[in-house]
Chain length 130, copies 4
Amino acid sequence: MKHTETFFERDTYARHTGIELLDVGPGRARVRMVIGKVHANSHGTVHGGAIYTLADAAFALASNSYGIPAAAINATIAYMKSARSGTLYAEATEFSKNPKLATYTVEVTDESGEKIALFQGMVYRRTPRQ
Amino acid sequence: MKHTETFFERDTYARHTGIELLDVGPGRARVRMVIGKVHANSHGTVHGGAIYTLADAAFALASNSYGIPAAAINATIAYMKSARSGTLYAEATEFSKNPKLATYTVEVTDESGEKIALFQGMVYRRTPRQ
Amino acid sequence: MKHTETFFERDTYARHTGIELLDVGPGRARVRMVIGKVHANSHGTVHGGAIYTLADAAFALASNSYGIPAAAINATIAYMKSARSGTLYAEATEFSKNPKLATYTVEVTDESGEKIALFQGMVYRRTPRQ
Amino acid sequence: MKHTETFFERDTYARHTGIELLDVGPGRARVRMVIGKVHANSHGTVHGGAIYTLADAAFALASNSYGIPAAAINATIAYMKSARSGTLYAEATEFSKNPKLATYTVEVTDESGEKIALFQGMVYRRTPRQ
């Protein structure tokens, strides 16, 4: 999906955060982030904002995978476990979609498969009338 | 509050995102972010992850303002309006607090006072027994 | 606001739950619920679903106060404190509104003003084009 | 699971709402609600509060399935589609659990399997120290 790779290349803040695209398809995406010093919060673990941004990058790729611009209108994240080192993965799945609104879930796991966070987000699309 | 300034200095990812501490007090905090090229998403507006991280930084400062470590367990963000340039502000307010759990709201506005996002988050604290 | 009173009279499930309309205006509403045996959950306190329904009734009144049908698309609720008896109040406030999407917050308190829950919800409106 | 059936029998508000227990096991539960006149909102479709209560009942059963009291601390619901008649089902699944906090997802579907709502909730447990 050439379109989607270009889409991710333009995602400056995701790349500033060290996020890499692994895989994308219709309504789904997978990204990763190798934990570095830059991701630390004041407690020395990975920042909630970095984990959210990882999940959000997968959500944006999945919801924009049809070539129609989708804007996030809200999202919820639950944090299960703090992370300190290694690689984090986020996998976005489309739960439902109608012409205007669509809902996605994103699971964030570490490299041993431990659950780090669960994200649920909604987008609004201006699907062109035909 | 010396403690809180040190707390913010250790928040590497917030500083990597360009967030600055403006003001902090018991159960409240205010931060800002001058929008730069680094904050862009694929649509050319400020990334939802950067807006979340701004809100989250205020939330972390407010919830850790008592000197007892507080860990975010979940958060919700609603996005009202996209932002392109200028400065964004986030202001966190404590809504409620008991020995273990506390809830905060964070409003994100731009420099003309327009509402950009509304954030609601919960922390868990291991308040020492006495 | 005759329209709004009729709107509430048609809200069968809110009335089945014992919710009463106190006050409504553009983008805001206040309702109450006298706690009865019917509201109990398995722990003997007021059911999370009843508290949510109370908040949701205020949210529906506030978001439909302009006479344009508004449909809830999502909501988040945080519970602070359990309730056992007396009266609960929910007050909805409009946080932001554009032609399609609007966000409301609802505070649920008991009769001594203690915070019981905090609700944040979003609606979608098919505002007629002119 | 005798304990769980008794637990559900004591859930007065869920039964007031017409919810029936179908199945429960460790960390999971399934309930249903035959849509009646009582569930209507002002628009004539099933009330968001009734759909939330259905999801919440499954969440409560799943999170209390271990015999240790679990209190909901927050929840998010996204609504996909309105429902008018027939039967709604809610199925709760445990996403993660530690001694204090656990996260569940609940899918609400209608009798033809159409997605009606997606719920994500967190509980706090006072797991006894040993």
